[in-house]
């Protein structure tokens, strides 16, 4: 991951190496490295680990009870429950193409078949509109085999869809075809790198198989990026695709012979087509049995639904629920439990007595209190600066000017108070220095950075309450995360800036006789220290003809 820093790299390259080797003293890079790598890398590591897991949750949400059946029916699938891996970009891409082709087909069909499909398909769906679908369809020029379309007038089981919400059902291509729009967006994001690469041929050949699918299983939604769907996308490169398409057509003939069956299972077969072309027929016959029962909601057929559909009906498993209840009740009791009067009295007596044995002129501030007060003053300072900057503007009316005057005077009073407080704190620090026990430990490192203030300590009930951070919109959450990251980054930048200043400036300032190479060094250092490494000054030779 060699990112060349913009600018001087190429310009310097042609020069002789010795001149270009600009000596910068010292182990700063070590220090700097220490500052940079742990923080950023650990964050990246943990983020990277969590995203795929969440993606998996959203997309392939299948509650545990159906796991056994799934195993039976899909021995090769292997992926169903333990599936945590992100589908590879390749698969996602193929899937994307598949989806687009399907939409294209649907669009054409819609114009022929019209409303019944749409009406049925749209019920019980949390739809985000047709937006994504047509958009995608435009992207590809898939020659739709129009001749197939008229044959599909036999619309099957359109009304099966609504019942499916109750029990999860397997892949369902719903008409008008649409993958979960949310899901599609996620895919698009993941595919941002390889989308443009669309192998048209693959798209074309897939459409054939796809259209067949479409005919037979019109009405169910597909949980798009599940492995089952991904897998058949794989062999859609030129050689494999025709085979899979062929298989798909074969499977249809089989289905037809059985008559009306759960088209979902059929869809599933199709989707497995790519995975193993041999044994395909065997699989379909295996499926005939369970699917012969017809309609939805049978526990034997594999289920895959998105979290979006099932989310609000989920239930935590019973042992967890019990443990959770007991736990939260215990917390509640602890929070409400008050120190009895006897205990409080006895405690206060003890504290008073022991404090009489403390060193006689007790310092005004304990070290913890000094640090606390200091933090408070720092906050006050930034608030004061903000207020002052607000008053720099000119004020039109007399009233505003008066107000501004009063504000400024108030600010002045506060500043004086703060300065007085600071003096007291300084005295406190000196007093504590005297008392400091002889511990050769790094003074600062003992003490936790995140210490609750004195005020908080008094509020013990508050400490035991459930700590929640409530956000009310996605935008807020995003801002929160972004700001936190920004603050961390700034902390790091400031630390690096200080280290670099300490290391680089002395080198330049002590430069005995500036040579030619000093100029490049100067430019580089200037950029780094004054512009954050982003912009460069222009250095011109001052050669005025005399």
């Amino acid at each position: 991951m060699l990112v060349s820093a913009a600018g001087p790299g190429p310009a310097l390259a042609p020069r002789a190496p010795s001149a270009a080797l600009l000596r910068v003293r010292g182990p700063w890079c070590r220090r700097g490295g220490r500052l940079c790598s742990p923080a950023v890398c650990s964050r990246r590591g943990s983020r990277a680990r969590r995203c795929p897991a969440m993606l998996a949750l959203l997309l392939c949400f299948s509650p545990p009870r159906s796991s056994k059946e799934e195993e039976q029916l899909q021995p090769e699938a292997g992926s169903s429950n333990g599936q945590e891996n992100k589908p590879s970009p390749k698969e996602l891409e193929e899937l994307e193409l598949l989806n687009r082709a399907l939409e294209k087909v649907l669009k054409v069909r819609k114009s022929i078949l019209k409303t019944p499909l749409e009406a049925q398909g749209a019920t019980g769906e949390k739809s985000a509109g047709e937006g994504p679908a047509p958009k995608n369809a435009e992207k590809q020029q898939v020659p739709v085999p129009v001749e197939d379309v008229p044959m599909s007038t036999k619309v099957r089981a359109v009304s099966k869809r609504p019942a499916s919400l109750k029990k999860p059902s397997p892949y369902q291509l719903k008409a008008p075809y649409r993958t979960d729009p949310e899901v599609k967006k996620l895919q698009r994001k993941a595919l941002s790198r390889c989308v443009s690469r669309g192998p048209r041929t693959a798209g074309k050949s897939s459409s054939k198989g796809v259209v067949c699918k479409q005919r037979r299983s019109p009405t169910r939604a597909v949980s798009a990026s599940d492995r089952e769907v991904c897998a058949p996308a794989e062999p859609q490169k030129a050689p494999g695709s025709s085979r899979s398409a062929l298989n798909a057509q074969q499977s249809f003939s089989i289905e037809d012979s059985v008559g009306e069956k759960n088209s979902v299972a059929a869809g599933r077969q199709l989707l497995d087509a790519g995975k193993k072309s041999c044994g395909f027929l065997g699989e379909s016959s295996k499926k005939e049995n369970p699917t012969a029962e017809g309609a939805l909601g049978r526990s034997t057929s594999p289920r895959r639904v998105t979290l979006q559909e099932k989310g609000c009906q989920l239930k935590l498993p019973l042992p967890y629920r019990k443990a959770y209840f007991r736990n939260s009740r215990a917390w509640e009791r602890c929070r409400l439990c008050q120190t009895s009067a006897d205990a409080a009295a006895a405690r206060n007596r003890f504290i008073e007595r022991i404090q009489t044995t403390f060193c006689s002129p007790r310092p005004a501030f304990s070290p913890a209190e000094v640090e606390e007060e200091l933090k408070v003053l720092q906050d006050v300072l930034s608030l004061l600066s903000q207020y002052m900057e607000a008053e720099f503007a000119d004020h039109p009316t007399l009233q505003r000017e008066y107000e501004s005057l009063l504000t400024l005077e108030g600010l002045q009073t506060t500043v004086s108070q703060c300065l007085r407080k600071l003096q007291l704190l300084q005295a406190g620090v000196e007093a504590q220095r005297r008392l400091h026990p002889d511990c050769a430990v790094d003074g600062g490192s003992c003490f936790p950075a995140c210490v609750p203030s004195r005020g908080q300590m008094c509020d013990t009930a508050g400490m035991l309450a459930v700590p929640l951070l409530c956000y009310s919109s996605f935008q807020e959450l995003r801002d929160l995360f972004a700001l936190k990251l920004q603050v961390s980054m700034l902390h790091q930048e400031i630390a690096l800036q200080k280290v670099m200043m300490a290391e680089l400036l002395p080198v330049l300032e002590a430069w005995p006789c500036p040579e030619a190479s000093a100029v490049q060094l100067y430019r580089a250092v200037y950029t780094q220290l004054c512009e954050g490494g982003k912009r460069f000054p222009v250095l011109m030779r001052d050669e005025l003809a005399d």
Partner: protein
């Protein structure tokens, strides 16, 4: 009843304990006189422990900090972000490796670019995570048995999917419940404990009286030796100095601004005095005064502790403020057994922190610029034009 608890401590541990107690303001000299090999002083330790128990609400803090996390946690403070003191220490003490070949400054630039790239990808990953998190919260709304939460966290959602992976979580929850019950028992027995402590103190005082007279002759004052160096005090003095400089600068700026404004004001008012009296300006003036006091109340409130700052990790909860939502939690936060912090507040604080950090960075950069300008003057025949 006297009993002695025998502790085996290492030297460092004892020093650490002494430093920590000093930090919180425990000024009982007998403790600091204890030998560093832990051979004596079990009762002193007991006293110190009891004092600390009260001073920092030790039990409640421990319970709160070690709370089992079943939700999507995030911290509401940025305390851990600042350069930790330990790192500061090692930075200063870093041995000066004599790098013979020197370091190419382009390596520095490359590192810098790489760092920026990593931050950018981190940003992107955060965004993605944020989006997914929100979706999970949104989609599982209404499912949680706990009405206050309302929706599942990522852990809980995964728990529904694969309960067998979370046996440890269950165990942790149960052991925490047991701890909480133990805490309740302790609350019942508290009076006994404090009475006992008093007796310990009494006993020690009696014994102390007999030997103290000897010690006093030997040691002089009861204070421990003056430490030759106190890094904490040094670092804090540095901070205080910096703050004092900033405040003084601010005061000067304010002073300049105020005098200018006052002069202008007097000019304006001089000519219109009668006019203003007619308009009843004094009444308006009083109102303005009150409003300014209100405005500055924020400041005075800040200056006067105790402050309730938010700390630690909180569980992220999505609460749609949509009026049609079933959960009408909006305002009634106080009635609930939760200390709910709203993201808006945290965002505001973060923005303030961000602004002040940016200001600090700019100051540093400005300082560099000035110093480099001086260097530039030494470079022959070169003019530097800053971007």
């Amino acid at each position: 009843m006297l009993f002695s608890i025998v502790f085996f401590f290492s030297d460092n541990q004892i020093r650490f304990v002494k430093a920590a107690l000093w930090y919180y303001g425990y000024d009982r000299p007998e403790l600091y006189r204890l030998p560093s090999d832990g051979s004596a002083g079990s009762r002193e330790l007991l006293l110190a422990f009891s004092w600390l128990l009260h001073r920092i609400s030790l039990l409640e803090q421990l319970l709160a900090r070690n709370r089992v996390k079943t939700g999507d946690e995030t911290s509401v403070c940025t305390c851990e972000d600042g350069l930790p003191n330990s790192l500061k220490g090692t930075t200063e003490k870093a041995p000066e490796h004599g790098l013979e070949g020197g370091v190419d400054v382009r390596y520095l630039q490359w590192l810098n670019g790489r760092l920026r790239f990593q931050w950018r990808s981190l940003h992107a990953q955060h965004e993605e995570q944020c989006k997914l998190l929100h979706k999970i919260h949104l989609f599982t709304s209404g499912s949680h048995v706990d009405q206050i939460l309302g929706h599942f966290s990522v852990t809980e959602t995964d728990l529904v999917r694969q309960p067998e992976n979370y046996k440890q979580l269950l165990q942790l929850l149960e052991s925490e419940t047991m701890q909480l019950e133990a805490f309740l028992e302790w609350k019942q027995l508290e009076p006994v404990y404090w009475q006992w402590m008093e007796t310990v103190l009494d006993n020690m005082a009696e014994e102390g009286n007999t030997c103290e007279s000897q010690d006093a002759r030997v040691e002089g004052s009861g204070l421990p030796k003056v430490a030759s160096c106190c890094p904490w005090a040094d670092s804090l003095t540095g901070q205080i100095d910096k703050l004092s400089r900033d405040l003084t600068t601010l005061r000067e700026q304010l002073h300049k601004l105020t005098t200018r404004r006052k002069a202008a004001w007097c000019e304006k008012v001089k000519t219109r005095e009668e006019e203003l009296q007619k308009e009843g300006f004094s009444a308006t003036a009083r109102k303005i005064q009150e409003s300014v006091e209100l405005k500055l109340l924020d400041l005075t409130y800040l200056c006067a502790p105790p402050q309730k700052r938010m700390h630690g990790s909180h569980r992220l909860v999505f609460r749609n403020k949509h009026p049609a939502s079933k959960m009408g939690f909006g305002r009634s936060v106080s009635k609930e057994p939760v200390s709910a912090v709203s993201a808006t507040e945290v965002i505001r604080e973060l923005q303030m922190t961000e602004a002040s950090l940016e200001r600090e960075l700019k100051q540093l950069q400005e300082e560099c610029r000035q110093r480099l300008d001086e260097v530039a003057e030494g470079l022959d025949g070169v003019i530097c034009i800053s971007p």
